[in-house]
Symmetry: C2
Subunit: 184 residues, 2 copies
């Protein structure tokens, strides 16, 4: 008997439920997650290798899944100028449309309603759990540009910034997007 703590047990059950729900509209769980990542990632991070790192998948799975998404015309691939090994991924209009029917919206609704009703924000605890796990596994935690050590706000221009690592200018949208190069 025995087993895991109540919270762990609930996370396991929620994880299963999330997997179960993620088969909607003819897409597979991983395909949904790739679409969600592409919606959130900045332009330096919309590549197969960033998807691989973020979702902790194998290169093979990502390559296959991207082919499936390309066939469904939800994502396009283009070569990157400057590095001929790389591909740049873009959500098509159909891809964004698909995200409007994201089955995970039900989870989001439940989470928002529970947090509002209980006056409790679980994100701090969950973020700590995720960081702990990723650190133990040696993975990167990722994060949005604005919180990165390479982030340099442009003095005078509100919302404008620069990435000191890639030496690229960042608009307001970039600053709030997920970046593979994020370094806390």
């Amino acid at each position: 008997m025995s087993g895991h703590s109540p919270t762990t047990h609930l996370l396991e059950r929620l994880s299963r439920l999330i997997q179960n729900e993620a088969h909607a509209h003819g897409l597979k769980p991983v395909q949904w997650e790739i679409l969600r990542f592409l919606r959130l990632a900045n332009r330096f991070s919309r590549t197969p290798s960033a998807v691989t790192a973020y979702l902790n998948l194998t290169k093979g799975t990502v390559s296959q899944s991207l082919n499936a998404l390309e066939t469904k015309q939800l994502v396009t691939k283009e070569p990157v100028t400057g590095d001929r090994r790389r591909l740049s991924l873009t959500l098509t209009a159909a891809g964004r449309e698909m995200l409007a029917g994201d089955p995970m919206d039900a989870l989001d609704t439940a989470v928002r309603s529970v947090e509002a009703a209980r006056g409790e924000d679980m994100s701090g605890g969950l973020r700590a759990v995720l960081s702990d796990l990723l650190r133990r596994r040696g993975g990167r935690a990722f994060g949005v540009c604005r919180t990165c050590r390479h982030y340099r706000p442009e003095p005078g221009a509100a919302g404008q910034a620069r990435c000191a690592l890639l030496n690229e200018t960042l608009g307001p949208a970039d600053s709030e997007a997920i970046c593979v190069e994020h370094d806390g």
Copy 2:
């Protein structure tokens, strides 16, 4: 851009991480979950249909997964006396041994450490989220015998009880086990 709330996003990422970690020791995620369920379930609930309902899988997946677990000698199947359609599942000694190396122990460690450090118990909020989702989907929430409407404590005998639905006596271990028939 935009997307889900921070908490939802973290639950999605944790779910992915949990899936990724669940490939240890030659078992697949679902196989691990079946082993965990069998460790927690009472004797009325160690059947393929209970596994199917609890994990929200299809009968086909459960049937296949149980065959795999039986081949690995982690689980045994026996016919049930009284209903010749049913099978009773039992964790073998090797199955319990396998659970000693459960990759989800890492999550449990992280959860316990974070909750202790922050003095925060997330189980209430997570339980509410899970209930909300299950209710919306029409699924049962399950639960342990002791909290069931059919639970009848045996007056005088500490820990002894009876199930009014199945008309069976329950020992202390049964009372704390998950039951498919659980009704809040």
